[in-house]
């Protein structure tokens, strides 16, 4: 489709929320003097902390509510605990968390196998949908995968021959 110039006056709702005062290149504030008192509001009741909750060292406590979807566990949990010794903007915080995420994936596969099921990677990656809508792309990525595997196998074979 071509780009056509638009008569914006015909656009439904044009300008209804226009507000010349909303120009952030001028200072704008919506605060009261109370806001300078720091961490002093009436906190909501604390959710009972009966799972391990890691909290940022940039705050004094665990928030009044929190999620409990997956408390830290295993080696990935150890890495996460280590990460939370450092501030949020620090690489020492960020990198261990990324490493922990990858370790967690392996731990997840081990858990699956322990519980008697091998993960169905084809299904988990949504390959049925890709087969339906993007056969070429799927075949290409499978071929690349196969080529990398073959190259790796050859490399190992050659190495072991030396």
């Amino acid at each position: 489709m071509e780009n056509r110039p638009v008569d914006y006056n015909l656009i439904n709702g044009w300008g209804i929320d226009a507000d010349p005062k909303n120009d952030p290149t001028y200072p704008m504030r919506k605060r009261s003097a109370d806001d300078h008192e720091g961490y002093s509001w009436n906190r909501p009741q604390q959710q009972p902390i009966d799972v391990e909750v890691l909290h940022s060292i940039e705050r004094p406590n665990v928030t009044a509510v929190f999620g409990t979807s997956k408390p830290p566990s295993g080696l990935s949990g150890k890495l996460r605990r280590h990460a939370f010794k450092y501030g949020e903007g620090s690489f020492a915080h960020w990198i261990p968390l990324i490493v922990a995420d990858r370790v967690d994936v392996v731990e997840g596969i081990i858990d699956d196998i322990k519980s008697g099921s091998f993960p169905n990677i084809w299904k988990e990656r949504g390959m049925n949908a890709q087969w339906k809508y993007d056969k070429a792309g799927l075949l290409k990525s499978l071929a690349i995968g196969a080529a990398i595997t073959t190259a790796a196998v050859m490399l190992i074979k050659n190495k072991s021959r030396d």
Binding site: K70, R80, G108, A129
Partner: protein, 385 residues
């Protein structure tokens, strides 16, 4: 119950035996989900690019449903209410909630102070299970959830949990003045909505960039804007200058965030090797395309640490840069008004309905932009009866 279950980068499955959520706090409610969208920002999680995304988590921050159970201190909702649940979890009492910065609540996310609590968005956003499931725990149920007005289509309602207010706030943070030229980077659902909303603030020209032809067609039709494929333009920044008498756009909106394509260097450092907290291509284009003294509004999601962005240009051009997670609760009444009066028609963005059971395929289709997918919604079996 049934729930989406993250197993690692690009690996998810349907968990058939996820434990039912429970009331853990007097202000909690349990909501039976009737619709849950997959969001572009879920793809950051899906690709394993958000630190502290743990195996076993359930994603989904865009959902609506029916209140099934309430805690002892919930008085604004009752069992049976059909509710829109904002994606941000907010206490309503902290210093930030009092400023209506509901996306920045200080009592919802222990793991980080920069980002607030978000449903199903990794432990970096509080470790909450999300709504891509049959049931979900909703904390601070007196604050966030809002009863769906009678007669509102559920597809419209679910879009009000994130996409509509985020697109609207992107335009609002741009401080658009009448006649302004607005450039929007990204024609995903939020970019489309930002382009549409830019007109409501009186924009004189709205120009959108993306790399997918079907999304460009969609945004041209839906948002009556100009739309260009940056793959067929050598340099989007030079192109924008040419379009604006060599001055640049008054307002630039980054509606992409960490997954941005278009710069090999940013892709390798930001997406493939995670050496920076996401590829900042769209932000770089936004800063460089803005007029001197102009405004850059960022709603694309980035990680917590370093990003390679041209801060020198931002300084030298005297730009104002604003960004935030949308304050959904603050904006909901106005968004409902705009939907009811026909100014906004959000359900038109939903191109795909999937049963929750097909969640892995739905993510693949959305992630790979297959079958002209703009916005997918998942429907649990308990909502299909």
């Amino acid at each position: 119950m049934l729930a989406m279950n993250y197993r690692g980068p690009q690996r998810i499955r349907l968990d058939r035996n996820k434990p039912m959520p429970e009331i853990l706090h007097p202000q909690d409610a349990i909501v039976r989900v009737t619709r849950a969208c997959i969001c572009g920002s879920d793809l950051h999680l899906y690709n394993g690019n958000v630190p502290d995304t743990r195996v076993g988590e359930t994603f989904g921050h865009e959902f609506i449903g029916v209140v099934e159970e309430i805690g002892s201190d919930v008085h604004k909702l009752k069992v049976g209410d059909q509710v829109i649940v904002p994606f941000n979890i907010a206490c309503g009492e902290c210093t930030f909630c009092k400023q209506e910065l509901y996306g920045n609540c200080h009592e919802a996310n222990p793991q980080a102070t920069a980002v607030g609590g978000i449903f199903g968005y990794s432990h970096m956003a509080g470790g909450y299970n999300g709504g891509q499931a049959e049931y979900v725990r909703v904390p601070y149920a007196n604050v966030g959830p809002m009863v769906i007005p009678s007669g509102m289509h559920p597809d419209d309602a679910v879009m009000l949990t994130d996409v509509v207010p985020t697109g609207y706030q992107a335009a609002e943070m741009g401080g658009i003045q009448k006649g302004d030229t607005v450039a929007v980077f990204g024609a995903g659902p939020v970019g489309i909505m930002a382009a549409k909303c830019a007109w409501l603030f009186g924009a004189g020209r709205v120009i959108v960039f993306d790399q997918e032809e079907y999304r460009l067609d969609f945004v041209r039709n839906y948002a009556q804007c100009e739309a260009y494929n940056f793959r067929s333009i050598e340099d989007p920044v030079v192109f924008m200058k040419k379009q604006t008498d060599s001055l640049g756009a008054d307002v630039c909106i980054d509606a992409v965030g960490a997954e941005a394509a278009g710069s090999k260097f940013q892709t390798i450092t930001g997406r493939k090797t995670l050496m920076q907290a996401g590829s900042a291509t769209a932000l770089q284009w936004a800063i460089n395309s803005a007029k001197k003294g102009g405004i850059v509004s960022v709603v694309g999601v980035y990680g917590p640490t370093g990003n390679m962005i041209p801060i020198g240009n931002a300084l030298n051009k005297g730009l104002t840069i604003r960004g935030n997670q949308a304050s959904v609760k603050r904006l909901l009444p106005k968004m409902i008004e705009h939907v009811q009066s026909g100014v906004l028609n959000p359900k038109a963005l939903i191109t795909h309905h999937f049963p929750l059971e097909e969640v892995a395929d739905a993510y693949r289709i959305f992630s790979d932009k297959l079958d002209n997918c703009i916005k997918p919604v998942l429907i649990p079996p308990s909502a299909r009866m």
